[in-house]
């Protein structure tokens, strides 16, 4: 990515039954950390159910980003309907791998209480770095 490419570019990728729109957002170039190449935050927007069926696709998507050197992953759960323990496990594993690779995996929290519940019941709402919107998280991330 070019340093001047400050505008958010958007590409939507459909991954089968559960729509998993993958968008790419470029950080403000002034704040990119070129030294470790971790300047860009990859935003992955999930819709529908993040459950035992669809979590396999999320794992694969996360894996592909990490292998391509994109280690700052923002998973946007704001409009997700339902998250189960398998979905949670995919996020936990993704976070571990991203941090190991020098990046991080952060979340935009679900707006629905039903989808947020799994994080609260397992206390993972305390573990994950969450924010209430993609914009706020990226703003915060770029200055940290």
């Amino acid at each position: 990515m070019s340093e001047n490419d400050a505008q958010a570019s958007l590409k939507a990728v459909r991954t089968a039954a559960d729509t998993m729109a993958v968008t790419e957002t470029q950080l403000d170039s002034a704040n990119t950390e070129k030294a470790n190449g971790a300047g860009a935050v990859e935003t992955i927007t999930l819709t529908g159910r993040l459950d035992v069926v669809s979590s396999t696709k999320l794992r694969k998507t996360i894996q592909e980003h990490l292998e391509a050197g994109r280690t700052r992953l923002l998973i946007d759960l704001s409009i997700i309907d339902f998250v189960d323990s398998a979905g949670l496990a995919a996020l936990v594993r993704g976070r571990k791998l991203a941090r190991k690779a020098g990046g991080d995996l952060r979340l935009v929290q679900p707006r629905r209480a039903d989808a947020m519940r799994v994080f609260e019941l397992t206390t993972f709402d305390q573990i994950f770095d969450m924010d209430d919107s993609v914009e706020n998280m990226i703003k915060r991330w770029s200055t940290s």
Binding site: R49, D51, V52, V53, F82, D84, S85, A86, L88, A89, V92, R93, K96, A113, D114, R117, V118, L121, T122, T123, F124, Q126, I127
Partner: protein, 187 residues
Amino acid sequence: MTSTDASSTSASSTSASSTDVSSDESSRRRTDSSSTIESLTLDADFEAVRDLEGWLMAAAAKLGFDKDDPTMAAIHLAVHEVATNCVDHATTDGDQLQLRADRRLVPDTDQGGGQPALVIEVWDSGNKAFAASTVATPSPDVPQVRGYGLMIAEQVAASVTYKRQQTEDLWSNRWTLVFENVVSVES
């Protein structure tokens, strides 16, 4: 039906003593007079487990509970976790999952009384027993896949019991979840 207890243990906790649910078929089962038992059979695969939400909500309503009570969504999550656990650990292709919803009074005393509880049982037609002892108690620092499902179920339900049950030559895994404080629409 012959029913033999092989083990009875709380899911992911090492401390809890379990309730023997084997005798509830007869003397220990008490239900509201209006109660019926709702049941569902699903193919034991993860896609099919998605169908249990609609059944659960309808069953709860038929049993006199308020399906719009926000607690019901948490109950769905707990039942979903146990059902996926059954699919994951205990079944092979072609097997099925059975679910049963019932309304019982707790505490269950000879004097009667008690509050209505929603009791959900989930069992499979598999023959491999799920070894609760092989699933470590989860800790947020140690990511693991399945332990969290049982942790969630135990947090939502008043009790979660597991037993291995033998029916003829098949071993199945039977879970009983008791949900208290569900809003009832009956007077």
